[in-house]
Symmetry: C2
Subunit: 344 residues, 2 copies
């Protein structure tokens, strides 16, 4: 039974359409661990490039290049980031599984699996920058991202001329609880006997481990109040709580669109990440009072770091009850702040 | 590598000593689902029974009868509940795996497994009451418990004469996030191929599923601030965060002392539980401002419920940063409140 379509969560409304996707090939891409590999970065664009209006959108853990999809409350016609004014670029992160090279990429009939290098946030950003340059964009008016995407945005701004950076519901570095949630998710996957060191066949993945990993993720995406309002103690059948049905549905659905190897690789990347310094740009940081996964003090810390570097930065703490998912669900409050900050 | 012994969490310091344990046998015990079964309830006692000084301690999910062990900051010589004054009884819950009958009980060479009935909090309390009567105690001066134990205490007080009830870090009924954490833990277990419908051999249990289930539990026992203070981003080896090592250590260790079938049975019991009304007694409710698993408003709700029934009740919201584990870690604040409330 499908739950209410309104009950979506981190990026789940994403419906990438392959026919809209294009790709950039980067031969001999150099990973920070010293390895090199030919990689592909999938991307999509909206709007018309006019030299000074490029906006790069960086997705969260389970997202993809289809920004006007998973972030359509913020990006799209009539929204804060409108393709009528901006040339919007969405890419799929290196290490992901929606068109860019990652553990799920099949080479000579076999998934790369454990042969895919230990990717870092810095690698993801560098590949994104090289892809953007390849498209013909040499400077960004804005790079924006939430959650993992916020970390990637910070690193993009250190690697190419960037006017503005908007980071939402993200952090300079993960704290222990964030690493803990990711580690429990990773263990659910790597302890599934089908994981086989990451070298499972594409048609026989560790589905159960990946489903449990996704359920663990969902426990951190909503606030307690938000879980309560959505589900309370309502039951779907006589002995199944709606929240149980929801978590299992989310877990199962995720196994149809995501690769377990990508989840392990990308969570390791964001857990290891620590932003050393901010690139020269104007910064906007937004947080949500109910976000228990990326608490407000982490965005405040970024703003402090910016000021410590003498960099222009605003931090807005938004009072909304939807937990971490607020950054996806909230078009109004973030939209208003972003419009004002962009001066449009 | 063993982590700092100070880094313990929900009940992990428990070291039951079998030689101190005794057991009550309850023939043809009637479960609320209609089934009957001969069951055993393991118990321990401390102090001397003087007719009016019996105190029953109810353990949390992974606890046992060894109250002066997992709750030794509150119960023990010189503590708020001192065996010099009180006759302290600890039992292991029906459905548990530390001496009382549960899915792990071996009958004719086979674990009961799926043959163990769908136990409820009411069943657990009824078996506890019958065991206490069997010991020769007909009225309780106090029944106390935290987390799952708080729910059991509420039901004990409805089933035998009880003067006082102390419920800490617990709830009248689980909300959606609590059910969600438990469901993710259950799915980690039942999706382990070794689960086999609950009928696995005792020497080949779903260890990996149980380890992941325990890691999920630990994510909910500490607050974000508490995770941060304990672990931060410190690393144990060059590429392993201390928090990762801690969670894996806790998960592995748990598989040596706990049964996956018990975890599934007991979490189902507490998720289904809703306290309909309070038994006649004086109530003390304590909560912790940093407890995100059993938030303060759930204890406040119990106090409101008591007042609605015209029952004497106090609620104290304790400001401590240790999350849900505060109820185990805090001897001072709870101790002081309990002493004053008991008038000693």
């Amino acid at each position: 039974v499908e739950p209410d379509p309104a009950l979506f969560s981190e990026n789940e409304r994403t419906t990438p359409r392959a026919d809209e996707r294009r790709a950039v090939h980067l031969p001999d891409f150099a990973f920070s661990d010293g390895s090199t590999m030919d990689v592909t970065i999938a991307y999509e664009t909206w709007g018309t490039f006019r030299g000074d209006n490029a906006v790069l959108i960086c997705h969260a853990l389970s997202g993809d290049s289809h920004a006007i999809g998973w972030w359509d409350r913020l990006v799209g016609p009539g929204k804060a980031i409108d393709p009528a004014r901006w040339f919007v670029i969405g890419t799929n992160a290196l290490g992901g599984c929606q068109g860019s090279t990652g553990p799920a990429t099949v080479v000579a009939g076999r998934r790369l699996g454990s042969r895919f290098p230990a990717v870092t946030v810095e690698d993801i950003a560098l590949a994104m920058v090289q892809a953007v340059l390849e498209i013909g964009v040499e400077r960004l008016a804005l790079v924006a991202g939430g959650s993992m995407g916020g970390m990637v945005a910070l690193e993009v701004a250190r690697r190419m001329p960037t006017e503005r950076v908007w980071v939402t519901a993200s952090a300079r570095a993960h704290g222990a609880l964030q690493i803990g949630f990711n580690e429990a998710a990773r263990q659910a996957i790597v302890r599934d006997p089908k994981w086989r060191g990451g070298d499972y066949p594409a048609d026989d993945p560790p589905r159960h481990g990946l489903a449990v990993a996704r359920m663990i993720g969902h426990l951190s995406y909503l606030s307690e109040a938000s879980f309560e309002r959505k589900f309370g103690r309502r039951r779907r059948e006589s002995d199944v709580f709606e929240v149980e049905s929801y978590l299992n549905y989310q877990g199962e659905k995720f196994t149809n669109r995501f690769d377990a190897g990508s989840l392990v690789a990308l969570t390791r990347a964001i857990d290891a990440y620590e932003c050393a310094e901010l690139g020269p740009a104007r910064y906007l940081f937004t947080s949500f009072t109910s976000d228990t996964l990326y608490p407000s003090h982490q965005l405040e810390e970024l703003a402090r770091m910016a000021r410590g570097q003498g960099i222009d930065a605003e931090w807005h703490d938004i009072e909304l009850p939807f937990g971490h998912d607020s950054f996806l669900l909230d078009g109004d409050r973030q939209g208003e702040i972003v419009r004002r900050w962009l001066g449009c």
